[in-house]
């Protein structure tokens, strides 16, 4: 197993840092899956993390100037590491103005991702900051947990409203309630609702548009769904808030798929990054 990569460009470094920061806001621990073409951050929906799962995909060539990977074997040429994204994010923070950053899989006292940043120096002596981030190498027999989640058989798919607006609404609703109902239909309408002993609040978003795949997806046993019909899911408001707070990548497209009373599937797309986040519905 071998992995080494290098980022020279400050733009790429900032972009990579933003992605890692976003992941940090979403989860304390996740799996870093490295393949020849892609880097993935994966969280599989375990009960321990409230059933939330995450899938973040980066095209390696868009971030790294050098990228060498030798997987566990020739036929499964990839590496899976369990890592605390916060450590990675902290290491990248010190590397903000670095001339270059090298990331390497090393064996110290334990397996580590070693991040070395060469910082600008006024003298001829170079200044290199090195971080050893402990990781767990995940054996091959557990890899099946970290495969790309299949697109759920959703009832409604809709574009999200401006995330900033959504964030302030969800932040306020969080003060009032622990659970929130997300509902949407195929005519571009989405509602966020809470209801408690003291207050009921509903925010109505309109004209959001539905992504084109919703048209040809034949759902509900061949019967097309009435456009006005709402699919809804009641979710833990903190999970949604986490997703909206962590958001640092400024996506070109933001979408939400709802499987009625089962799951909310959020997707953020940027040219070279995609982030999917699954929040299970609660009764």
């Amino acid at each position: 197993m071998k992995f080494r990569a290098k980022i020279n460009d400050v733009g790429c470094l900032n972009h990579f840092t933003r992605v890692v920061n976003t992941i940090t806001k979403l989860t304390k621990a996740c799996v870093l899956r490295l393949t020849v073409n892609n880097v993935y951050f994966v969280l599989s929906g375990k009960v321990a993390n409230g059933g939330v799962s995450m899938w973040c995909e980066l095209l390696q060539v868009n971030f790294f100037d050098e990228y060498q990977l030798e997987g566990v074997s020739a036929d499964s040429n990839e590496i899976c590491l369990e890592v605390a994204p916060e450590n990675l994010s902290r290491a990248l923070k010190t590397a903000q103005n670095a001339k270059f950053v090298k990331i390497k899989l090393t064996k110290k006292h334990c397996p580590c991702l070693t991040l070395a940043a060469e910082l600008p120096s006024l003298s001829s002596v170079s200044r290199v900051v090195t971080h050893d981030i402990p990781v767990d190498v995940i054996p091959r027999r557990l890899w099946h947990d970290f495969k790309e989640p299949s697109m759920p058989d959703f009832d409604v798919s809709i574009y999200l409203p401006p995330l900033k607006t959504m964030k302030s609404v969800v932040d306020r609703m969080k003060n009032l309630s622990n659970y929130l109902v997300v509902e949407a239909n195929l005519s571009g309408e989405m509602n966020l609702k809470i209801e408690t002993d003291l207050v009921s609040v509903t925010t109505h978003f309109k004209n959001l548009g539905n992504p084109p795949w919703a048209d040809d997806a034949s759902q509900g046993g061949g019967q097309s769904r009435p456009v006005e019909a709402m699919a809804h899911a009641r979710v833990d408001i903190r999970k949604l808030q986490q997703f909206l707070n962590g958001q640092q990548v400024n996506p070109s497209k933001a979408m939400c798929n709802i499987v009625d009373q089962r799951i909310v599937h959020l997707i953020l797309l940027q040219e070279d990054v995609s982030l999917q986040y699954f929040i299970p519905a609660v009764a």
Partner: protein
């Protein structure tokens, strides 16, 4: 938009309808009195009065006159109800309470009557939020019986001068002592904290002093914990009138200018700290 397409019959049901182009004109002034959850609302032809109380020793009132609202329709002489103020403030600022010019939340507040919720319609950039806040039986607000004819001492100050003093007050002191006198030290704030005593004196001919009417030397102590919430109102205001009556009760009246330059008032009443016999 529900704001404009409210059917006539639905509007008729309401005994109170109040609309604002900028919800901040209401939320800001309510923040100035938000130190307890329960707020008593009292609406008359003149406008809205919101009262919050603590420990039967402190009362804060915010007055929002009818002409501050773009629409203010009331179909009874007096309407009273009580709501949770923290909840109301979260609802009013649901879109973040943006201070960016040109972006504001429009508000329409409706009430059908006793037993019904207070309904808020909020709209910003085409997004509409409907809030139904459950109302409670209104409690009778305390009557501090603070009568202008019994006022012993009165000063009006620019708020900035008092803000500075309040931000530097020694919060380890349990009380704030207020001395008002026709002779030296005229107007003095004193604290008695862990690290010693401190006095703030304002000369009566200071630029910050707009009015100085003290007839008798008075020295009264007020619990710091009770006065603390009033700093919220101080921060928003441009002028403050400080008055004490013959019983030593304190009245603080704040003049608050909103985003549109209109004037509202916030008023705090506070009981003096009971005197303990010296041993």
């Amino acid at each position: 938009m529900p704001l404009s397409t409210q059917s006539q019959s639905e509007s008729d049901e309401y005994i109170l309808v109040a609309s604002l182009d900028n919800a901040r004109n209401l939320s800001n002034i309510l923040k100035a009195i938000s130190f307890k959850d329960h707020a008593i609302f009292n609406a008359t032809q003149n406008g809205l009065k919101v009262t919050v109380e603590d420990s039967k020793c402190l009362q804060a009132n915010a007055f929002i006159q009818a002409d501050i609202f773009q629409e203010f329709t009331i179909r009874q002489d007096v309407i009273g109800f009580q709501v949770n103020l923290t909840v109301l403030l979260d609802c009013l600022t649901i879109f973040g309470g943006s201070t960016v010019p040109g972006v504001s939340t429009a508000l329409r507040m409706c009430y059908i009557g006793y037993g019904y919720p207070l309904t808020l319609f909020l709209e910003e950039a085409g997004v509409v939020t409907v809030c139904k806040i459950n109302t409670q039986e209104p409690e009778e607000p305390l009557d501090f019986d603070f009568c202008s004819t019994n006022v012993t001492n009165k000063v009006i100050l620019q708020s900035d001068s008092l803000k500075e003093a309040f931000s530097e007050l020694d919060m380890t002191s349990e009380v704030l002592q207020l001395t008002m006198s026709p002779s030296h030290p005229y107007f003095r704030l004193s604290t008695f904290g862990n690290s010693g005593n401190a006095h703030y004196d304002y000369p009566k001919d200071s630029d910050m002093m707009e009015l100085f009417q003290c007839t008798k030397t008075q020295k009264n102590r007020y619990k710091m914990s009770l006065l603390k919430p009033s700093t919220k109102a101080l921060g928003l205001s441009c002028k403050v009138s400080v008055r004490t009556d013959s019983r030593g009760f304190l009245s603080l009246q704040y003049l608050v200018r909103n985003d549109d330059g209109q004037i509202c008032f916030v008023e705090y009443y506070c009981c003096p700290d009971e005197e303990v016999d010296e041993e």
